[in-house]
Symmetry: C2
Subunit: 210 residues, 2 copies
């Protein structure tokens, strides 16, 4: 029936599996991912699909790695060229909001859903999630520190605090979009980011460009 694939095509098959897996996982969760349904969707047999990974857990890890690439392309890459510091923080947040608004992952940010799915368990999946979040947090905090050094943010700013609050804005946006379909939340998120990053709210009332 279906012709055997060449070695060159095999990589593209793996591609197809992972791409689909990311979408399904964002909708049904990393655990809701089932080999059988995934294989059926792609016109493969279960064993043929599993042969590319060896186990479901490896597939889950590959899915998260791939989601990380997508996230970086969508959120970090568009901002990477901005000037490090406050400019880039603004650019990242704009890209972040856009990424959620456009529904890059159809079921919402895969990292957020996966976190709340795996936070109560152990295992490699949770460990990978922790690493990925840590990397992202560190990256944002670095730009906050740069902004502070430049005087674009007040000297007393706690980088971890700001990252904590920005993450909260994005989670709240993800929540509002996915559960309520409330597109008004997008402007609320922008306002919140503005309030967190901009001068309106400095303790000394000084504009950040000083």
């Amino acid at each position: 029936m279906s012709p055997r694939r060449s070695a060159a095509e095999a990589r593209s098959t793996r591609e197809r599996i992972i791409r689909r897996s990311v979408d399904v996982a964002s909708l049904e969760g990393l655990e809701g991912l089932t080999i059988g349904r995934l294989a059926e969707d792609l016109g493969l047999s279960k064993s043929g699909l599993l042969g590319h990974f060896g186990s479901k857990e490896v597939l889950q890890l590959a899915t998260l790695e791939r989601a990380s690439v997508i996230f970086n392309n969508e959120v970090w890459a568009p901002a990477a060229d901005a000037r490090p510091g406050l400019d880039r923080l603004h650019a990242v947040c704009a890209a972040w909001i856009s990424y959620l608004e456009r529904g890059v992952f159809p079921g919402g940010c895969l990292f957020v859903s996966s976190t709340f799915e795996y936070d109560g368990r152990g295992g490699p999946v949770r460990a990978l999630l922790r690493r990925q979040f840590a990397v992202w947090r560190r990256r944002l905090a670095a730009d906050v520190r740069t902004a502070v050094r430049r005087g674009e943010l007040p000297a007393g700013s706690d980088p971890e605090q700001l990252v904590f609050e920005l993450s909260g804005v994005m989670m709240s946006l993800n929540h509002a979009l996915q559960l309520h379909g409330d597109s008004a939340a997008v402007v609320r998120a922008r306002r919140a980011v503005h309030r967190l990053l901009d001068a309106a709210c400095r303790p000394d009332g000084r504009p950040p460009s000083a």
Copy 2:
């Protein structure tokens, strides 16, 4: 082996099931709840357990209803006696943070986890979640409006905006506690709430008590 329960004991059995179900669901998710394991944990048979509900979906709904009662007891009740307006908002947020910090649900706030589990699907479970969140949001927004009317918050404040940002803080806290076990996030959450509710950051620089 196990003695048959009287009619009077039946209610307490249902109680035991739901109580356990809430804990398991917060750790494994509402879908990860399985009749078999739940029955085994409680020393019941699967059919005996299911007899109290009829289907897994009914059990899930009962679990959410119960979680709502717990949430209200832990977060709303301690603040209910405070003066409506800014005072009560502060009290609610303090109770909310404490509720997350103490791990009332061992796997983190059940509503947050359930949301991200069911936001991609339809069905009565998601519908119930939407209603519960809407009620909570409306309750908070009402106190924001009272605070604005009283002049405790600036006149231009958008209630939905504030509720959106407060929710974000709590989700970020839940995330930090559950995934990273980062207890420092508790003070970050307090700082964030302070910044959202207190005077330090008014557009007109006026203290809220004016």
